[in-house]
Point group: C2
Chain length 350, copies 2
C-alpha cells in the first residue's frame, strides 16, 4: 500500500530524547517499510527513517530556538499532505486535532491516532463535530469519554524487538522511569521500595512546569539511602536499567492512555507493578507479567513474591502483543478496511 | 452580501480589556451590519455583536481557566465554518494561518486578514505554499517580507467615530499607551517627556513575559516626578487620557504592522509623535497629524512646536481614513472582487 504517515514537528522522528508520539511514528513507519509497503513520512527534516521523508521544516521545532511561530510549520505540513493526497491509498495522521477539518476534503481516506488523553472537557464539543472521522485509540480506556466516535480499532503501541533486550536474571533493585510530576507518583514508588527493603533507581526528567512540585514534595524525600537518582537517561541506559530491575514501579494516579515504559520493561522481561489507571489493566495480566494493586501495602506484598513471575513469560507477552511489527500489521488491517469502505470518500460526498 | 467573519477565540468580540484582533473584528462586524449586510460572526459565545453569533465555545479561552487544550476549540470553529460555507458569499478569516489548508476546499471564496507581523523566518516556507490564497494586509509595510503573495488590498483598521470623542483643548501632559515591553520603548518616552519638561501619563500593562524587563530596565526610571503611572485602563479612561494629551508618544523600535493607539489618539484630535517603523509612515503625515522622528533630540524639538498642529485637522484625518465605516466599505470592495473573480473556486479546481 501507498501509506502517508504525518508526524508532529516538535521532535524529530525518532526523538533525540523525549517525545512519545514521534517515537511511536518512527517505529511504526520503519515496521511498515519492513513489511514491504511504500511509506512516505511527513516530519521534520532531521528525522531518520527508512521511508521517503517529506520535511515540512528543516529541524524539529523544539531544537530550533529561532522558531517563534509553531503553527506556521504545522500548517505547511498539512498543505504538503493536502497537495499530494491523491498519491496515497491512506493517510495516517498523528497530529492531534489540527488536520481534522481538512481531512474530510482530502483525495484519500485518512485515519487519526489519538495520542493524548481525551478527558478534557473542552475537547467534547469538537469531537461531536467529527463523529464520522475515523479514529484509532491507543487503549480501550482512552476511548471512554467518547464511546460513540467512529473508532476503527485500538492499536497498542509496539517496539522494535531488539531495542530493549531480554535479560533473564535481574539485579536486586526496582526501577522508576518517567517524568517527576504529581500524577506519576514517584513519592509512592519511594515508599514502596523503602518498605520492601529494596533499592529504587530513578530515571526521571523534571519539566519546567513540575519544578515547584519537585522542590516541595519530592526533593525532601530524595536523600534516603535506598534511592539512586540517575537523571534523564538515553535508550541504552534504559535497557540496562530496566533489564536489571526486579520490577518496574508504575504507581500512576492518572488515566495514562498508554504506558510506554510498561512495554519497555516487558521487552526486558521485567514485570510491572502498577496502579489500575488508564491503560494498565489492558497491558498487565496479574501474576503473568506483573501486578495491579491499589495500595502501598498490596504493592509491598506483591514485591515479596516477585520470584513467582517468570521473566521469560513477560518477554513472551511483549513478543506476542507489543512489537512494532504487530503494531504495523494492526494498522495495515485498519488501512485496508478504510480503503474498502472508503470512509474518506463517503465523508467528502456527504 | 452574506458575509462570515471568523474571529479568534482567545478574547470575546469585543475583548473585555486587551485583544487587538478581536477588537477590530467587533468594529468591522458591526459596521458591516450597519451598512445593511447579512453578517454571521464565528466567535466565543460571550461575544457582543449586532451580527448573528455562532459560538464555537461558550466563553473566550483566556477567561476560561478550565481550558487546557486551546487547539480543539479553534478546530471546532473551523469545522462549523466549513459545514456552513455554502450559505455565504464570502468568508473572512482573522484566525492566523490555522484555516489556510482548509480554505481552498470551502464552498465559498474566502479572504484572510493578516493581523500579526510577518517577518519571522519560519513563516516563509508556509507563505510560499499559499501563494494563491487571498490576503489582506493591515499596512503596506506589513507585506514587505512577502511582496509576491496574492494581496487583495491593504485595509487600515478603523474605529467607531464616537468611541474616542474629539477634544479641542488638551491639558499639559503627553501620553504613553501600550504594553511595557522592550520594543515599545517606554524608556525613550520617559526621556523625551523629561527633556521637554512635560508630565508623562503612562497607561500600560505588563505581560508576564515582560516582567523581568520591567524590573530591570523600567522600574528604576519610574520614580521620577514627571511621571504618572495609571496601570491598565479601560475604554472610557483611555478617551480621557488620550483626549487630554498634548501628544501621544509612540517611540517604537519594531515593525508594528498597525499602530491601533495612533488612530485612537487621532480620534481625540491628539497628534502623534512616532518613530518611523512599521505602519507609522502610512498613518502619520508630518506636520498635519503628528511628527516622525528618529532621535530624542528631534522628538523634544517637535514637542516644543506642538501648538502648530491643528487638533481639528487630526480628527479630520481620522474621519477620512480611520473610521470603522471606511474599513467596512474597503472590505466590501475586497469581498465583491473576490466573488466576481471567484478566487475561491479557481483555487479549489486548480
Amino acid at each position: 500500500m501507498r501509506i502517508a504517515q504525518v508526524a508532529p514537528l516538535f521532535e524529530r522522528v525518532p526523538p533525540v530524547t523525549y517525545g512519545g508520539t514521534e517515537r511511536v511514528v518512527a517505529y511504526l513507519t520503519d515496521a511498515l517499510v519492513e513489511l514491504g509497503h511504500d511509506v512516505t513520512l511527513f516530519a521534520s527534516g532531521d528525522s531518520l527513517t527508512r521511508a521517503r521523508l517529506v520535511p515540512a521544516v528543516p529541524r524539529s521545532l523544539r531544537l530550533d530556538t529561532t522558531c517563534r511561530d509553531t503553527i506556521a510549520p504545522q500548517i505547511r505540513e498539512l498543505e504538503l499532505v493536502s497537495r499530494t493526497a491523491h498519491r496515497f491509498d491512506v493517510i495516517h495522521f498523528h497530529t492531534g486535532f489540527l488536520h481534522l477539518p481538512l481531512a474530510r476534503h482530502l483525495a484519500a481516506p485518512s485515519v487519526t491516532t489519538m495520542h493524548g488523553r481525551l478527558d478534557f472537557c473542552e475537547i467534547g464539543p469538537m469531537m461531536g463535530d467529527f463523529a464520522d472521522a475515523p479514529f484509532v485509540s491507543i487503549s480501550d480506556h482512552q476511548r471512554r469519554p467518547f464511546p460513540d466516535q467512529h473508532w476503527c480499532a485500538t492499536v497498542y503501541h509496539g517496539l522494535p524487538p531488539r531495542l530493549l533486550p531480554f535479560r533473564p536474571t535481574p539485579d536486586r533493585y526496582v526501577a522508576f522511569v518517567g517524568r517527576i510530576s504529581p500524577e506519576k507518583r514517584l513519592d509512592r514508588a519511594i515508599e514502596i521500595a523503602r518498605r520492601a527493603g529494596l533499592e529504587l533507581r530513578i530515571a526521571a526528567k523534571i519539566d519546567a512546569a513540575d519544578k515547584e512540585y519537585f522542590e516541595r514534595d519530592i526533593a525532601p524525600l530524595m536523600d534516603q539511602p535506598h534511592l539512586r537518582y540517575l537523571g534523564e537517561i538515553g535508550e541504552e541506559e534504559k535497557a540496562a536499567l530496566l533489564g536489571g530491575a526486579l520490577a518496574l514501579l508504575f504507581p500512576i494516579d492518572w488515566p495514562e492512555p498508554f504506558g510506554m515504559v510498561v512495554i519497555e520493561a516487558l521487552s526486558c522481561g521485567t514485570p510491572v507493578l502498577a496502579w489500575p489507571h488508564g491503560s494498565v489493566p489492558e497491558l498487565i495480566e496479574p501474576g503473568v507479567n506483573g501486578w495491579i494493586v491499589d495500595s502501598v501495602d498490596a504493592a509491598v506484598e506483591a514485591l515479596a513474591q516477585v520470584d513467582t513471575i517468570d521473566r521469560a513469560a513477560c518477554r513472551a507477552v511483549f513478543e506476542k502483543r507489543f512489537t512494532a511489527e504487530r503494531m504495523a500489521r494492526d494498522y495495515v488491517t485498519v488501512y485496508k478496511r478504510l480503503r474498502e469502505s472508503r470512509h474518506g470518500l463517503e465523508a467528502r460526498t456527504a
